[in-house]
Symmetry: C2
Amino acid sequence: MGVRVKNRDEILGNASSNLDRRAREIILNAIERAIEAADPKGIIHSRVKVIGEKLIIDGATFDLKSFNRIFVVGGGKASGYMAEAIEEILGDKISDGIVVVPRGTAGKVNVRFVRLHEAGHPIPDESSVKGAERILELVKGAGESDLILCLISGGGSSLMAYPREGISLEDKRRITDILLKCGAKIDEINSVRKHLSMFKGGHLAKAAYPATVISLLLSDVVGDPLDVIASGPTVPDSTTFKDAVSVLKKYNVWESIPESVRKLLINGEMGLVEETPKAGEPCFKRVHNFVVGNNRLACMAAIKELTEEGLNTLLLTTYMEGEARVIGSFLGSIAREVVFSGNPVRRPAGVVAGGETTVIVTGKGRGGRNQELALSAALRISGLRGVTIASFSTDGVDGPTDAAGAIADGSTIERARGMGLSPEEYLLNNDSYTFFRHLGDLIFIGPTGTNVNDVVVLVAL
Amino acid sequence: MGVRVKNRDEILGNASSNLDRRAREIILNAIERAIEAADPKGIIHSRVKVIGEKLIIDGATFDLKSFNRIFVVGGGKASGYMAEAIEEILGDKISDGIVVVPRGTAGKVNVRFVRLHEAGHPIPDESSVKGAERILELVKGAGESDLILCLISGGGSSLMAYPREGISLEDKRRITDILLKCGAKIDEINSVRKHLSMFKGGHLAKAAYPATVISLLLSDVVGDPLDVIASGPTVPDSTTFKDAVSVLKKYNVWESIPESVRKLLINGEMGLVEETPKAGEPCFKRVHNFVVGNNRLACMAAIKELTEEGLNTLLLTTYMEGEARVIGSFLGSIAREVVFSGNPVRRPAGVVAGGETTVIVTGKGRGGRNQELALSAALRISGLRGVTIASFSTDGVDGPTDAAGAIADGSTIERARGMGLSPEEYLLNNDSYTFFRHLGDLIFIGPTGTNVNDVVVLVAL
């Protein structure tokens, strides 16, 4: 996959000096290499090998001869492409398969043995239920000598939804909405959702038992927690019905959730309903989960490019979280230190950080977390020559905008003020998109078909 | 100056393993060395030398024979100690001097030629005005062949207050209060304050003209902006009366400020009142400003100690600003990366960051920015063995508490939960002091007599 920033020339043309232009060029190259490294097909081809009759994944070896049939299942925004690569590797060794992809994207995927099923994203629909049902049927038909290859990527949670008996899809949507709005954290939200599903939280692995399950996960969650990526259909659940109830009570929404959900959770607490599968249960004995791609892969590709450009490089973290504008300011403060003391790395320097920040919306503007991070950083690096920073989403879509992110350098603030723009006011109004659109420094890539979160690249020449 | 963390043994005793104990020990050593490096007397002795008849400061040489008299003036929390060191260096070469120190601290300073004057801090009082007046009188009496050594440190702004004619001290206090509450930034606040003063914003330098002025600044402001430290009495002011008015109008407080202030600023805008001294004016021709001590000095001392303990070290930044909990989480995310990928530095690793964060108070608890940073970081490093982080204020006082900061390691969260404490709730309630008091992991040092902001030390063994 060759990735190209669409408005490359415009971005380069906005440089105020040759040095700044060079810094922008290096960053654009790093962005393109980072996204290419997250390409689902490329990832599968580099991590999954067949040599003779051996299937080799990250050093683990499986004897293909020992399997009667091979099924391919799974879902997520990148899972169609993962299936395409798996077919290129295993070909007609695949007996059957169903992979759920976002509506309107099946046409982009070229598969022969695996059937594609389209469903709703980011909000699950009846087709999400149908997709999960078809996968469950398929794996339940598998026996002890069968292999199930499960291809999981971001978005899988909504693409494959299978509510427990008595819970409607509408109930699930309502409770997800309530949980997102009440301030609960992702692991708390998941503890509830997993207990309303017969697919998430290890249920898929349980349904597949006693077949061997190899789950290949492309992580879109910071830190790659197996049980969070697509809500962990092949991963033991460490939470209980009791935890789910506690979360709802902690955030004072126990009374506002649908009656059907409350009833199910109470029954679950009393042991009248089956718990989610737990670690140590037999159904996980033949389950192998591999994170084949994650944010670090994209960050390391950016680092490699920066190193090849002759920079002294530093990968700060791939666990970046927190409010975008604070992180942007902190990364800008690192740029200042590079310039003034040669710490933490000497010039010419390239610093990379990965993860996913958040925006606390108080204004009425338009923007994404990466654009807001870049705007905040711009204020901190203002006046520094040869210092440029870009923040972008590897899926090509930053928040509710058509840009992947934005790029800023030491001249950005001065250039903006020269155009009559107040950077502080745009930041205050969460209007980073409009700010960078005026400057021509939005980064346009278009949907990339993958997602391993965000990458920030900082260059000080 | 030998600094010792008072509750060293308690902090070491809280370690859950020998490895964690060792990490705590290294951090405590680094904290002590960092604060020692910021000792005002030590700083003056290391930066100011007299060799024969030459006064040498940071490579600049002044011929003492060319001066008729030497006066020592200035003010700030550390300025008394700076004066003591200057006396040890220049002795009876000093003709006279007045240095303003916080009320109740003059007794700790041993001077013979310089007179100490006590005044109010952090709120200026009539004695602040008297102190500034005495300094202005002294420097106005100096001539072309005299040298004025000006010793400036944090707190100088309130210790030396000299309102313009028609402005009362109460007016100045009110407007400072209004500016702090309206959300204006420090440079905006200063643009107003400087225009209400006949001491700040370069006025002291103007009063001293045509004497030679050597200003030694111990910086308590992130990034060491000369015109912000103690409001820059010997530094050209880059702002105008017009700017001051704009700030007050921008934050919609123009109508709520005292009538006297509004009148002065309007007259200033119309050119009826003298502007603050500007760059290029003759009065700055003989003015030499030196930042003799700052946050980087403390950070580098911490780095030196970590290196001597055998760690691979990294100074991230000395420009750290922003919300304490977000920065703490980000630093914790760097610790995770160190552990899981050996980036940005291999274990055993020591990472240092300096600056000053802020707390957005929404809860009713007790805490300081360093304690809140440490609590937030604790949540991010939970479960990591041999990983410890401490954040502390070099002045020994973190926010409105008696602790300098707090220390946390990979066992902190588990230990807290074992005691029935919810770290998330303490963080939500801005109650980091109570949290760490329960754990015995507050860092007690007591007032250190210096201030070069905060230092965060992170160790991963």
